[in-house]
Assembly symmetry: C2
Homo-oligomer: 191 residues x 2
């Protein structure tokens, strides 16, 4: 049913997925053909289709894998914080780490820009990713004794997505966002 859970992948399948992840992110999904992915992973196009069936499925796998990695990084960062209040800010610290190696913005926003068809699996994955982060913010805020976690979570998500969207600009928006997030968290969790 779910097109993204038919693993485990074969060795060739893993190389294909790795090449697809880099190429799709760096050059855009519609800008990268299956022939290029096959070539970059040292594999025949036939093997690619034996493993993934279609380009759309490969795109779904690319986004799902990226989602998995991002959530893992965030969760690790959250778990490393000493106090609940520090934990609310953790996703912004994770974003700092993430942005060092991912400078082409948010892969999910980019995917939605390229694939207008709402029935494409990319839409479901991208929406789920954002809502997961929103929910995490809310949970963390509640754990930090914030009396109104919902609006705070939405504000933090806005800052988070705004940071990613302004990445191409010659401004250090991440620092600005983190500072403002800290202030918002502090004033929303008065105790």
């Amino acid at each position: 049913m779910d097109a993204t859970e038919t693993r485990p992948l074969t060795p060739a399948g893993r190389r294909i997925a790795a090449a697809a992840e880099e190429l799709f992110y760096e050059r855009g999904i519609t800008g990268v053909g299956v022939d290029l992915i096959a070539e970059h992973s040292g594999v025949t196009k036939r093997t690619l289709y034996n493993q993934f069936g279609s380009k759309d499925h490969l795109v779904a796998v690319y986004l799902a894998e990226r989602d998995r990695r991002w959530r893992s990084l965030v969760q690790t960062t959250v778990d490393a914080r000493a106090t609940p209040r520090d934990a609310v800010l953790a996703p912004f610290e994770a974003l700092a780490t993430w942005s060092e190696t991912h400078t082409r913005g948010c892969a999910f926003i980019n995917a939605l820009a390229e694939l207008p068809d709402p029935s494409h699996p990319a839409h479901r994955i991208a929406t789920a990713q954002k809502l997961w982060l929103l929910d995490l913010f809310e949970t963390l805020a509640a754990a930090a004794n914030c009396p109104a976690p919902t609006p705070l979570a939405r504000q933090l998500l806005l800052l988070h997505e705004g940071t990613l969207a302004t990445q191409p600009l010659p401004l250090d928006t991440l620092t600005e966002a983190t500072n403002l997030a800290r202030t918002l968290i502090a004033s929303a969790t008065t105790q």
Copy 2:
């Protein structure tokens, strides 16, 4: 020198530009071929190339025209505000109007996602558009007697871009962003 100022356009040229604007925004730039644009504007492909020379140039015209319209709407909204402090919030009200008819996110962010080549004219136009808004926020903040207009402007830009980026989500992020923006403006322009 500038590929976007060789107007005025002929009647056919205007129809082409109008069709390109709608199709590029709704279906993505790489997802729309020149044949489709020619067909939608009731024009021959030859005429399209006589008027615009290349698809890349047509893309640049599309973005430049969109930029022009957005700035015009924002400026009109700003001018209609009674007090300088209200004026700082005006771009968010303009965004509310704009979003009624443009539901596929920010055309400039989308264009950057689809066109990874930094030398493509789209990058210059998109960057200029964001920096223009940042500068406008700063100018408006200064006019509202904000002692530190630069950080406030960056915060407002973050909220603005975050709103656009979260547009596909089933949340009313615009209201949240506007409320927070109002609070930030109020507390940054104490007098």
